[in-house]
Symmetry: D2
């Protein structure tokens, strides 16, 4: 019997990406499409690309409906909302994977400081597991509540993990200079996503500790390093729809060659179905993971300055959101981790 | 046992799209990747997005290898080359689907006039079936050689078919004003595909009878109308990668409403898995079929001038090339027509 | 003494393009920047690209202020608003150039039908001159009120004029298949200008008599033909910021060669500073006029169907709006027509 | 009498940008357009956007012709070629501004190491002045040979100068994470500028000491710091035509506020016509300088890590190439520095 899936926030970009990917999933089916803006409308009328793929009207995603009708709920909503839905869903013995920020941080105070929002389910926050399978797979398997990582944090954490775990770089002074496509800003309207303002344009935003993904990255890096890590995180906006590229700068603790470090990465990610370490001299580009759940990683040592640079790319809507959420669902329900996620990237 | 597939021209854009789509096909597997430029190299080294998806070195696509090792051969090559490969493949009892121009036209003289190239397999040309399943499904089923339609002709023929078949429009004076993304020009290098020349630019090219897809469209329309049809075909280049939109202009023979004609289209395409007729007032956009084998069609009557305008959109690399080729393969081998082609479009 | 210029609607795209171009104009200076959204804010704070170029706060564009402080007023506003401002400005002996729709049509009934808006200055409507200098230069010189043409109508009228004037094409059955960049939709927010929805997308909109530029084009073509002309006008949206390309389809009344018709165009536009007729075999692209006031035109006869196709390109914000408005201002004040408009296009 | 200008390499992107900008220059005129590919062809036939702007055939740029016919020569050529032209031009008492790499570095050995090319005019190399007017204005005024800075080095040096000069940051550990539009790669053909490969894609390249602009940036920073500076320089490719954004990371030597440092920048660049320091909280975007000679700079202190981040944007073809070269020409000939460069950026 297939898993009954509810999506709260089904008509945002993460929501319809969930629907696209779950359409390829043999063990799950979407039974409840929650939406605020399109209640009563067929999803395929709102999004014509879905015509013929599902017949499902938008509905209000009430806690009761989600708890009653679904085996697993994905929430793709503004922060503050999932924390209101989670108790009912979990109380009914169902599982919840939040694609937003409510259950990523473990530290309630940090959440409240960075998001300027009181957390109304602090107990669940501490129970929740951070859904980055490459680093927390065992914990995810036994969980009922998953905080699905942010798009930037996914790329940054996977770029840093082998280095910090092996202790070959200093935990101080780490910089992530990150670049994202515009879909990361969602479907809401603002000048910042206006075509004529974005095209032929490139900018930085929320720099120098201004972006809310900063504490999330630091939480994971601190876990890896075994001590508190403070980073500089600098997001930029690229005139493209999909894709994140994170350029990580790390100070080596001792001289290492590019080949040594690539070997370290290959070993660390051996067996991982969604991490592809590129050969020496080959840096990944965002387009080579488009539409897929891959994180591709390349690196190079800068001998002149004793640094190693790591480049990681993901599709922000897949490994950075909906794909990773399904990967987590597979883990929660004991399915093979790649179920529904095996299609190759689309290129060009 | 899965079909053994050979691709001659595997490293062009149509070739790698075949590889992407066949990766989702449960009944077929690529066993021979023919290439000129990358002989001996792993495809996944040439195209990093394929890493982990197949281990297949580029090889010379000799007639012998294709005939020996494959059940079905796709040729995605410049015109003139497939006609040299076809005899051996067919002679060995295998099937061939040409994504190029060698086997689309029935009239050898027309081929030689438009392509300025002597046809060396005129007998096969007359045997070949034109691979537009919505119009020639019965013939395709029994064929061993398929001329897979061009990208523009696919969109134009599907836009025109119900009207001409029903005789509600004049067969004279038809215009197709068509617009294509840049991937239609392939991966070869030229100023015409140079990013800085194409971006923020729009142009027409090969107009007024200058484009080789003209006789191909006319052949199909003549079949439909039961009399020779001469059209005006005007291709344009859009600064995007994938997608074709064809705007067809037809003179109505008598007054008709938009609703009447939409009903005609819905009836004509009833049961077609890959044609989606849009409701009244809803015109299709290229992005809503991106990555998929759909042709979406909308139309509107212009009462002021007695015309009907039909808008058809496809992904030029899928329904306009690789997807349609696989649809044809499914027909040739008695498989369900949608096998391997059921994934939803990717949006946004 | 320099002309004192007021702009009502200074912070929309047409408004800031006026400001950019007037910055190069030796005989004019902007003294009043009217805005609704940014009253009291420096323009250079709203639009950082203008920093250092002017110090001018946004102000409410009241009829009194415009009439008192300006020699000439440009209105770049929604239809219905300029008709409220014009009486005061003209009454004070000043001149007004409306970049919107209020004064383009001569027929009040047509305006009210197409715009669903009562015209409150019908007398001025009939007095106003249509500001397409290549066709109405003499009338513009003596006018005090100019209806500056729409972007599509500029391209379409210039594509058609020599043919209709010479009577070498039929006045029936004319089609304009037109394509515009996104800046034509202005700076307002909607899904239709959302980057993730527009990029890698192409669509038609308001087809089959649904676009308000239709009667405007027909008015000019009727003037040229000396009889009522009804056209089919089909606008499309191109994923680029600037540029319009209009593809015009005309039925020849007798056989003509491409060279003959090009000669006709060259003669018709001889001495025109902003129309460049391309040589045979050379079709214009939008990028070659970007940022400039040019309209570039190419054409080709389709002997197979007895049609001539004319391709015209403009920058919709310049020759399609702000540049043409300044060209009109130059005419109104007896300045050389190219003053402030002589800079070359920006390429690439 | 106007300066007679020769351009060797007139048909590349830097060359035609020189032609566009010199078209606005009242004291200079292009008399010799040197080209390899288009000898004998009118520039306006090669680049239709120039039609009506100049009548000048492409010619071979021989040392003799340049020396005889021009007052000043711009070379926009591959490295190794200008060094062959310079002796004749200078020997004839004329001036030369090289937009390439031959005369930027002072250290012949560094040139030969980074460019793997023997320098044939080492004496001229040491005579040449580095053409970054904001830092080397006095030297430029008296020079006859200018090495016009690279695009990345212009943005990086202007971002770093006030900090290093004031000694408020450490000279060790500086990182420039830089992003460039595609026009920086020129008009030559390669997969790296193929539209379908670049669009919807983002990548890093030549990282970790692999890019030849590294020693050029280090030379300027060493001048500023008064000691050898070694940097990490990471270039990336953005899917847009024009624009560079450099994100500079500097470690503060003592605590400083954003406001203090902005005051430092404003003072350092007081009176500079082409540097615009943005107010606190306002980071520059590439589009706001498009088509202009501006460098816009913003910064923010990251208190959590003791760093200051500086964001600088330029149009790579203007301040990063042709515009800066004209600024240098103005200095060499005692003209007002902004002559021909005063037009506002084009937006959107």
């Amino acid at each position: 019997m297939r898993l009954k899936v509810g999506i709260a926030g089904a008509t945002g970009y993460a929501g319809i990406e969930l629907i696209r990917l779950l359409g390829n999933h043999p063990e799950a089916e979407v039974v409840l499409a929650g939406t605020e803006s399109y209640v009563g409308q067929e999803l395929a009328a709102v999004y014509p690309h879905l015509a013929g793929h599902l017949s499902l009207p938008g509905r209000a995603a009430t806690p009761e409906a989600l708890a009653d009708e679904c085996d697993v709920v994905f929430t793709a909503l503004p922060h503050g909302v999932p924390m209101k839905l989670a108790p009912a869903v979990l109380g009914a013995g169902k599982k919840l994977i939040d694609l937003g920020a409510d259950f990523r941080l473990r530290d309630t105070a940090a959440f409240e400081t960075w998001y300027q929002h009181k957390h109304e389910a602090a107990d669940l926050m501490s129970e929740a597991v951070y859904g980055l399978p490459e680093l927390y797979r065992a914990e995810i398997r036994g969980a009922r509540l998953v905080g699905n990582p942010g798009c930037y944090p996914t790329a940054c954490a996977l770029a840093a993990a082998p280095l910090l775990k092996a202790g070959v770089v200093e935990s101080r002074g780490i910089i992530f200079d990150a670049k994202s496509g515009v879909s990361g800003a969602g479907r809401g309207l603002s000048l910042g996503v206006h075509f004529s303002e974005v095209t032929e344009n490139f900018k930085a935003y929320n720099i120098a500790g201004g972006h809310r993904h900063t504490p999330e990255i630091e939480q994971t890096l601190s876990d890896l390093a075994g001590e508190p890590v403070v980073i500089t995180f600098t997001p930029h906006l690229v005139p493209m729809v999909r894709g994140i590229l994170a350029t990580g700068y790390f100070q080596l603790t001792a001289e290492r060659s590019t080949d040594e470090l690539l070997a370290l990465f290959r070993e660390f990610y051996a067996g991982e179905p969604f991490v592809r370490v590129r050969p020496a001299g080959d840096l990944p580009q965002t387009k080579q993971v488009s539409g897929s759940n891959y994180c591709d990683i390349g690196l190079q040592v800068d001998r002149r300055t004793g640094r190693v640079l790591v480049i990681a790319v993901i599709d922000n809507l897949v490994k950075g959101a909906a794909g990773q959420a399904i990967q987590n669902m597979n883990l929660l329900f004991g399915l093979p981790e790649t179920t529904g996620l095996a299609a190759a990237p689309i290129y060009p």
